[in-house]
């Protein structure tokens, strides 16, 4: 009896087995789950400005969802850990501010310029994509420090010097909110495409075993570069939109390493490598972060640190990763 015949009999007796061994059905269920998650996100964020003028909580929730999702492109899908991820956030903020304030360009063009600046700086880092593991992380961290230094040394009439830039004339929190919404949807769309495309397969192969991937024909540097470009564009846009939302840009907050730390923690807490991982992680931890902040403002970081340590100790693969490990038969349905 051939494998196919034997399998058909097993499938007829066991519906779960049938869906497990039917790629179309598995893919369909996975797509339905992911479609449901995206629909929930749209329903949760899209109408908010219609009901309230206090948009901050939801705005920053979207910001962290985007940061964690785009961080997942490199860390979860390609196996990189760019510790200096904040560099692109800061570049995006300053590019937006300088293009708007100094050069008088409209905000949408300034934001496009921010994305282009982030990608351009990311491409400058391309030769270091050959580096393995922690070495790349260190180089990216050095980039963040170097960018902060370079901007601080630029003429104050361009960057605003130590006072930074104020974009009060561009003030429009609702439009900024919807801009962040669009960036989030863009990141989710990019993640969806990555996970379904051949590029996504190549990236996951590199993540699992870089050398083995290269030995079976994957051009590791070129493949990583594509993911890297996508991963640098979104934090740059996020930095730019956040600058528009707050109307203020300064070196300390634009290049604050906590931005990288939170992106890493939120993505890891949810589960790297899964599309829903950063969504779950950022939603849960940002919510907890805000609750702690509201009730224990002076102990906020301490308590959040304890929560994160507990999470990493108890669920090292993140919330979604732990679920996938515990219920491995359902893992293939998790987007």
């Amino acid at each position: 009896m051939s494998d196919e015949t034997r399998e058909t009999r097993i499938e007829a007796q066991n519906p779960l087995s049938a869906s497990q061994n039917n790629p179309e059905k598995t893919s369909h269920i996975k797509s339905l789950i992911w479609g449901g998650v995206v629909t929930l996100i749209i329903l949760a964020f899209l109408p908010v400005p219609l009901f309230t003028t206090n948009l901050s909580f939801m705005f920053y929730m979207m910001l962290w969802l985007t940061m964690a999702t785009s961080f997942n492109f490199v860390a979860g899908m390609a196996g990189y850990m760019p510790f200096g991820y904040v560099a692109f956030y800061g570049i995006g903020a300053y590019a937006t501010g300088v293009l708007y304030k100094t050069f008088g360009l409209p905000i949408p063009i300034a934001l496009a310029g921010a994305a282009a600046a982030g990608v351009a700086i990311g491409l400058l880092l391309a030769p270091t994509l050959r580096l393995k593991g922690v070495y790349f992380g260190i180089v990216s961290l050095a980039l963040a420090m170097a960018m902060k230094l370079i901007i601080s040394l630029m003429p104050a009439k361009i960057t605003g010097g130590s006072l930074g830039l104020i974009l009060s004339s561009a003030n429009d929190p609702t439009m900024a909110y919807y801009a962040m919404f669009a960036v989030l949807l863009g990141a989710l769309a990019a993640g969806t495409w990555l996970s379904m495309s051949r590029l996504g397969i190549a990236l996951r192969a590199i993540r699992d075993d870089r050398e083995a991937a290269e030995v079976v024909g994957v051009n590791v540097v070129r493949t990583r570069l594509k993911a890297w470009v996508m991963a640098t564009m979104f934090p740059s846009l996020v930095g730019g939109v956040e600058a528009w939302y707050t109307n203020a840009i300064d070196l300390e907050s634009s290049f604050n390493l906590l931005v990288t730390a939170k992106s890493i923690v939120y993505a890891m807490a949810g589960g790297l490598g899964f599309l829903v991982g950063p969504i779950v992680g950022a939603s849960a931890l940002y919510g907890i972060d805000q609750l702690i902040w509201r009730h224990f403002p002076t102990l906020n970081l301490l308590i959040l640190g304890v929560v994160i340590i507990a999470l990493m100790l108890l669920l090292p693969r993140g919330i979604v990763g732990a679920f996938a490990q515990r219920f491995s038969r359902f893992r293939r349905f998790i987007p």
Partner: protein
């Protein structure tokens, strides 16, 4: 045909390969024997581009492989397995095979068809949607072999394919390797400590010792070679 000419590989002051020359004709199996540290795996690493040769020439069907990265060597038709299987653990068996076909310009249906053929061949078809990490060590070796065979290679480098494999899977592997030259049309370089399998499968055998070729010939000649007996067989 693979031609290796005066291949030298040094690591600092240590010479791992001291001028190795060999030929693997089309549709043939070259067995490579040698004690640990004799340079067998280093030679495979030089052929498939993981290591850059210090000097010498390596060519496949007249095309030089020197200076080519592993992915480019794979594109030239050289597939390779490792002593400890290097599968993609968090990917399904089908996805593992799909990686090797990414640059072939095939449709999804063609990828699925070729993958199904080879998964059937290595008796892993029923597990095709399982994650590779769920396989036993022996099954991972079979998956690794299938992963290079889907790409229809001209030359297959097998590094200790029978190590840690249970007897029934070893028999399956032996059967597949035996058929490869005629059925697939590729050449095979088989590095193994399993003397019986090497003698049984190989058209020609090369014995390496401390980075040199100690002897070359068919199974019978190798077993009678006094240098080999002294240095390797020890009896």
């Amino acid at each position: 045909m693979l031609k290796v000419d005066q291949l030298v590989k040094t690591f600092g002051g240590m010479t791992a390969l001291a001028g190795i020359s060999l030929t693997v004709p089309d549709r043939s199996i070259l067995g490579v024997l040698g004690m640990n540290g004799s340079g067998k795996t280093t030679m495979l690493n030089c052929i498939n581009g993981i290591y850059e040769a210090t000097s010498g020439e390596i060519s496949l069907d007249g095309v030089s492989l020197i200076g080519k990265a592993p992915h480019a060597v794979f594109t030239e038709g050289v597939g390779r397995t490792f002593q400890v299987p290097r599968i993609f653990p968090q990917m399904s068996l089908l996805e593992n095979l799909a990686v090797a076909l990414l640059n072939k310009g095939l449709s999804n249906a063609q990828v699925a068809e070729i993958s199904a053929h080879w998964l059937n061949k290595v008796e892993l078809y029923r597990l095709r949607h399982n994650y590779a990490e769920e396989l036993s060590g022996g099954q991972q070796k079979l998956l690794e072999l299938a992963r290079i065979m889907v790409a229809n290679p001209k030359l297959v480098l097998l590094d200790e394919p029978f190590a840690g494999v249970n007897p029934s899977l070893a028999l399956l592997l032996i059967g597949i390797i035996r058929e490869m030259p005629q059925e697939v049309g590729c050449s095979v370089m088989l590095v193994s400590h399993d003397l019986t399998s090497v003698y049984e499968l190989s058209d020609n055998i090369l014995v390496m010792h401390e980075g040199h070729v100690l002897a070359e010939g068919n199974a019978e000649a190798i077993q009678k070679n006094p240098d080999v007996i002294e240095a390797y067989l020890g009896a």
